[in-house]
Symmetry: C2
Amino acid sequence: MVLYVIGLGLGDEKDITIKGKELIEESDVVYLESYTSVLFVPKENLEKFYKKKIIEVDRIFAEENCEQILNEAKSKKISFLVVGDPLCATTHHDIILRAKKKNINVQVIHNACIMSAIGECGMQLYNFGQTVSIPYFEENYKPTSFYEKIKINIDNNFHTLCLLDIKIKERTIENIMKNKNIYEPSRFMTIQEAIDQLTYCENILKKNVITENTLAIAIVQIGSLSNQQIISGNLLTLKSLHYNEPLHSLIICAPNLHDIEKEYFDMYLST
Amino acid sequence: MVLYVIGLGLGDEKDITIKGKELIEESDVVYLESYTSVLFVPKENLEKFYKKKIIEVDRIFAEENCEQILNEAKSKKISFLVVGDPLCATTHHDIILRAKKKNINVQVIHNACIMSAIGECGMQLYNFGQTVSIPYFEENYKPTSFYEKIKINIDNNFHTLCLLDIKIKERTIENIMKNKNIYEPSRFMTIQEAIDQLTYCENILKKNVITENTLAIAIVQIGSLSNQQIISGNLLTLKSLHYNEPLHSLIICAPNLHDIEKEYFDMYLST
């Protein structure tokens, strides 16, 4: 029948749109994708507020059972809920493509996502270059391409939104090899960890991209009315601060700020 | 007391979030900003659905009466409604700065905006460079900086989101000089007009940025369930098509598409 792909926005169960909530209420089955981001409230709050049972979908379930979800959507109304905007990240383009190939009607309900909500920090979205992801370094895998991308942005006087890695329900290589479904505790990269990794890249590549004086903005739980923090400063200062629980993001500012950007930067300055 | 700056999303009155609607219901006065974008439904639909009188604010009102709105917010709950996300464009950073300087509590309620909703076209938001605005050419004023910015994006294999000009309630220079409040009919740049202006730049600057074969995606009324169109093709083809009423936007694609981007491009190909 139809697959509704519905953005939940950034904060809690009340950040869904009226349209999205109505479609959930009409749905026969409701899935919640919980492996690319996290809502700041437990699933039970959503179930109570939407008055629907919600089936949480982790990465393994989604990969192994995507066809099942799509087959259900042939005869039922299925909602697939995603934190933020459903198509802001790349993950969910695949399920939509597959649905359309099966001639399933797909409706996307957009919502706020980090890539636009950061407008609240006062840096103009027009002045951002390419967004980068900073992945957790592992002992034998320390990719530095995000550093090179930030350099290109800085050279062109663009801001860079750095999205910090999250690891939800991941298994160690050992447990994958042994086929054991034992999951590591979830991890969410913090501002401090991101700055450490950026500093590591600077020490290796020495292109003068990241210094203690680089201006940046720490973004914590954007969209959450109670826990949101926006704090500007240089990287040395930002590294020394304590923040609310993740999700954290980091904006590396363009070298030259416009007047209104300067005013915002000063307003959010760590004191 | 408090200034709520609330995003309405992209489609109709039901694209507001539950949180946003609740804050409107609590508000003493509700303003609707109607000069930087347009909702696809009349104000009356909003008033009926939100059960509140809504005061439409044009650019002149906002500039002349901003202080009045802020003074009201000292003792009342004021909602200031903005189509899309309230801070996606640059216009409304000023009122928030001014409010904070007056120690007025400000709460921003985010929502979908064009800059993230275009994820629906399948081009990855990570692969976009700087967003550009294409302003209406006037007889003696034909700025071409957007062309240069698209060239930088193409040279770096980035997509470019081109936001097309809108003119709402504008006066001719003659009427401004005579201090007459006579307004021109609203105008919304179409895909065809944008392609014409891009072609004009190419003919003047000859940097081989825009050719008939340049791949692009026409975006019409994104977020509207009934009128949304996403159509891909080369510029020659896109120029020849008929589209639903504006708002229109245009994506100039990066020269090399990733596999999933190619699949989306082909799915949306004009046939």
